[in-house]
Each structure stands twice: as structure tokens, then as C-alpha cells.
Amino acid sequence: MAFDRKIFTDIHMVLLISFFTSLILIVRNFVFLIFSPYKTLRKISFEKDYYQPLTIFIGVFLYFKFVYFLRDKPYPATFIFLIFVINFFLTIIFFYFLTRFFDSDQNEKRITFFSFIFTFSYSLFPTLIWFLSTSILYVFLPPPRTISLLGKAFSIFFVAFSLSLLVWKLILFYLSVRFSSKQNFYRILYMIILYLVWFIPYSIFLYYLKIFRIPFI
């Protein structure tokens, strides 16, 4: 009995240590994604520590739990998180199978499904930052904005902030597809256009269902 209890405690300790190690690596990668996104995402595409995307997903879940208290007549946070997970895996599966369809047999071994999970998880950072900051601003500076001097100044700042995060997101998204699929520029552009062909109507459908006003991807 004492021996079983020891094994149980040891497993818990290992899980805790793995979780905290992954958290430190996530923070490190996050900082490097700001300073050198190209080299960092290239390295991330070779990662095998599955606690990292799991930790990022826990962060996203905590965000949805936080936002549940701010929204008017919201769906349950777990339901929204489930929809997010479905969207995430639909995106990854789409790009993965499109890559396998385009690619020759030579590169088959180099392209892995888990590489897509890692790179696309890390490309969630700009999305998470924007949604979190907008939620916090909703508490401290609730809309509507006025046409006073402060209102205009804030509007300019908010648009610049949103644009910066959008450009960062586009960079990380392109690099995620580039390093996970290992395709050239034209093929990546073509894959992104094919992705938008179904993703835009799908996002509009989710908007009408009042699940996501702006796509969380």
C-alpha cells in the first residue's frame, strides 16, 4: 500500500514538473516569437513536448471562462471551447491533407500532423492577446466610443494595436503553414485561398449563431 501511494505521488510530481517545464518553454518561445518569429517557429515545428499545446489550450479555456461573465446571454464556456477545438482541428486537418495531396512521396516522411498542432498552437498568441485585451478594455473602458478628443485618440491607438496584432498573426500563420507543410510560396498562397473559401462562410455561420463575433483562430 505504501509502495502504491509512492508511485501515485511520483506520477503526480512528474506531471507537475512536466507542466511547469512546458510553461517556462512557452514563455520563452512567446518572447522569441516577438523578436525572431522565423527562427522560433522553425524550431517549434520540430517540437515533441505535447504539454506545450496542452498548456496553451488550457490558457484558451481559462480565457473563455473569464469572458463568460462579461458577455450578455452567452453560451457556456465549455461549449465555446469545444467549438474552438473543432475549428482548430478542422484547420489543421485541412492543411495537413492538402499538403499530403500536393506533396510528392519524397517529402512524406518529413511532414507530420503534430508539427501542425505545435505551430498552429503558437500562432494563437496574437489572437489570445487581442481577445484578452479587448475583454479587459470592455471592463475598464466600455464602448461606445465618442467623437471627443480622447475618443478619437483611443480609436487611433486601438486600430494601430489591432493592426499590429493582425500583421503578427498573419506572419505567424504563414510561417506555421510554411514550416509544417514545407511548401513553396505559391502553394502556400493557394492553400490559404482554398482555406478562406470555406472558412469565411463558416465564420459567418458562427456569427449568426452568436458563438464567435470575430473568428477565434
Binding site: 527562427k39 464602448p143 466610443r145 467623437i147 493592426l163
Partner: protein
């Protein structure tokens, strides 16, 4: 203990994991490499000032409509 040669080998494998982009035309490839060089390292040095410039231009073009856009975006989460 990982040797220096092992680490170099891993680094080279990582660097050559993707082929360099070739846009077909030399001039296109040249402009692509020049443009992406700014985005590969410290992109925010260019992104943040350009975003502010673009935001100011949007404000001068659309004025009150931009304030309304921000109101809509603030409900976007």
C-alpha cells in the same frame, strides 16, 4: 553530453528543413527576400510605426466612421 558536432548537425538539419523560396522570376524572388528580411527578425520595429501611420491615415479618410468601427470591434470578443 551532446557534442558540438551533434548540435551543429541538428541546427543544419533544422535550417535546411525547408527549401528556399523561388518565385519563378529573379526580380520577384529578389523583392520577396528583401521584404521578408524585415519580417523575419524584430518585425515590430516596422509593424508598430506603420500601424500608427495607417491608423492616422484611416482617421483622416473616414473620421467618425473609424470611431464607430472601434465601438464595433470592442464588442467583438
Amino acid at each position: 553530453m551532446k557534442t558540438f558536432e551533434y548540435r551543429i548537425h541538428k541546427k543544419i538539419q533544422e535550417i535546411y528543413s525547408v527549401e528556399p523560396n523561388d518565385l519563378g522570376l529573379g526580380i520577384l524572388t529578389n523583392y520577396y527576400k528583401r521584404f521578408t528580411a524585415y519580417l523575419k527578425t524584430l518585425p515590430f520595429i516596422f509593424i508598430i510605426p506603420l500601424s500608427f501611420v495607417f491608423a492616422f491615415v484611416l482617421y483622416f479618410l473616414f473620421g467618425k466612421l473609424m470611431v464607430r468601427l472601434v465601438t464595433i470591434l470592442q464588442y467583438g470578443f
